[in-house]
Symmetry: C2
Subunit: 323 residues, 2 copies
């Protein structure tokens, strides 16, 4: 479980927040997506913006100021562009909270507050960066913006790790089947909606493209119907993350289409993990990406075995000067 008290301590110290900016790169930007989406949908006066770090650094929004909270995340804490964003935000007098797994890293320097999270301990820990960002903005919305579902949220966070850890246990067989079936495909499509769009983005861009060198196309389940569904054919592979909650209709409509045209589809459905029995309806939208990210990790591991390509293999990242 994440250290809820440490997040609450940061919220206690914050003053006068009217705007939130989420800044990160790659998988860390995706991990901020559920919190971005929560503020986008539930913020009253508080606004929500998300940036890949270098777009924030080179095209700094004009209204970053002392009423702005900038939340910056990086797992290793040394992503150059994200570290640079601290100085950009502080230069505009924003309050900066960084989220990282790594003590002493670049992201721990120059920020107003640093929140640490685990990552390697278990499948639930893969979502602790997301959980930390979510609980931070829940606190901010409650303190400054009249948000009334914070208790439901906290209750959910007390339960979600067990739900993930128990939920992934029976996945080995189905994930292995997915991996064997998909291992020689030249391309896969990934669909989801709502807060889980970030998980779909992350799965396509980082689990598949970065870590498996497997081209992947991500799209919102709603957008699918406005053009890209033209590529749906028999046996073309699709991975669909289905949400419990308000955008389920979009995902279910996509599933129906994939079935109708006999695509080779794989579904990870938050409902299969019993999320609706454990998490309050008022906040369930934002717990979908947590359970689905944990589950997807099993699928990615099985894929890496089936393709004989470890998730840590890179040809460029960390190996080239300046990249």
């Amino acid at each position: 479980m994440i250290d809820l008290k440490k997040v609450e301590d940061v919220v206690d110290k914050l003053a006068n927040i009217e705007k939130i900016c989420f800044v990160g790169c790659g998988a860390s930007m995706s991990d901020l997506y559920p919190a971005f989406q929560l503020v986008k949908e539930k913020g009253n006066k508080i606004s929500s913006r998300i940036f890949t770090a270098n777009e924030f650094n080179y095209s700094v929004p004009s209204n970053i100021d002392d009423k702005t909270l900038v939340i910056i995340a990086s797992l290793g804490g040394n992503t150059r562009e994200s570290v640079a964003a601290i100085a950009v935000a502080k230069g505009k007098k924003a309050t900066v909270v960084t989220i990282t797994a790594t003590a002493g890293s670049g992201l721990t320097k120059g920020a107003d507050y640093v929140l640490y999270h685990g990552f390697h301990e278990n499948y639930a820990a893969k979502t602790h960066k997301m959980q930390t960002a979510l609980y931070l903005v829940v606190g901010v919305l409650e303190k400054f913006d009249g948000y009334t579902d914070a208790a439901d949220f906290k209750d959910g966070l007390l339960k979600i790790d067990d739900l993930i850890i128990e939920g992934v246990k029976p996945l080995d067989k189905v994930a292995k089947k997915f991996a064997e079936s998909i291992k020689n495909e030249p391309l896969i499509y990934v669909l989801s909606s709502g807060a889980t769009y970030g998980t779909a983005y992350s799965t396509a861009n980082f689990l598949f493209m970065e870590m498996q060198w497997l081209p992947a196309i991500v799209m919102n389940s709603g957008e699918y119907f406005h053009g890209p569904f033209e590529l749906t054919e028999k046996n073309v592979p699709y991975l669909l993350f289905m949400n419990e909650g308000s955008t389920r209709h979009l995902d279910a409509r996509a599933l129906e289409f994939l079935q109708r045209f006999q695509a080779k589809y794989y579904v990870l459905d938050a409902k299969d993990f019993g999320i609706g029995n454990v998490i309050a309806k008022s906040v369930v939208n934002y717990f979908n990406p947590l359970i689905l990210t944990g589950a997807m990790r099993v699928y990615a591991e099985k894929l890496s075995i089936a393709r004989n390509h470890p998730l840590t293999s890179r040809r460029y990242m960390w190996k080239l000067e300046n990249y």
Copy 2:
């Protein structure tokens, strides 16, 4: 040229706007992206959110109210999800402006104001939906939010159509070469940044995937370096839209990487169209997608000829009940 006066007349009638939501589907959502980005970067108190229509309809943000301007676009004006968004927004007391090319269509009913634009007249007209949305929010920002670059913006809009029409004239040969070279590729990557990300998204999802049945992966030029660049290899095809203005560094860095690893890259560079000589620096970021969208249309037409696949061919869209 778009009818600036008609847009100004709508702005004159608006009162008390604090938030702007952009709602559309597919290519029409992309056409709203530059205006979304302008408000995101230059809004002072006014916030900016963008939605695919069904995500807006099924997961309605809690703070849509009588201080919210909802801008909804659809070329043909009968996209079911976008038409439904009018009632959703009006149900929450928002002011609704719709943008469409089609008199009498669903999008012209129930909105507070309707703005019409051309599309088929010439290459500049392909950007008139974008221009209308941009000029509308420029007016809103100036009237309610202290925006000071409206005169530069209007000056740019008076010049941009000629820049597009003259700029596309010499493209036939290079676009044909692109088309011949790319016509048998199984997949293409599309990169850009800033306001032009919407054009990259639109090119990948609609010109390539919907209208050419050619799989395409879109990404922000900044995000490229945080994982997906692992797939860059000799002769893998990339289309890069380069911007004049504040995010040019992100695009140029991507170009350098594509050159270094001998990808089969194609560049559409806003600088080649002389945009920097004609458009004021204060607003040039938001004119890049206009010139690049106009230019890309020529490339798409040549591609459709090379692949013997008209841009109007569909297998599902408009042909299935309920889709």
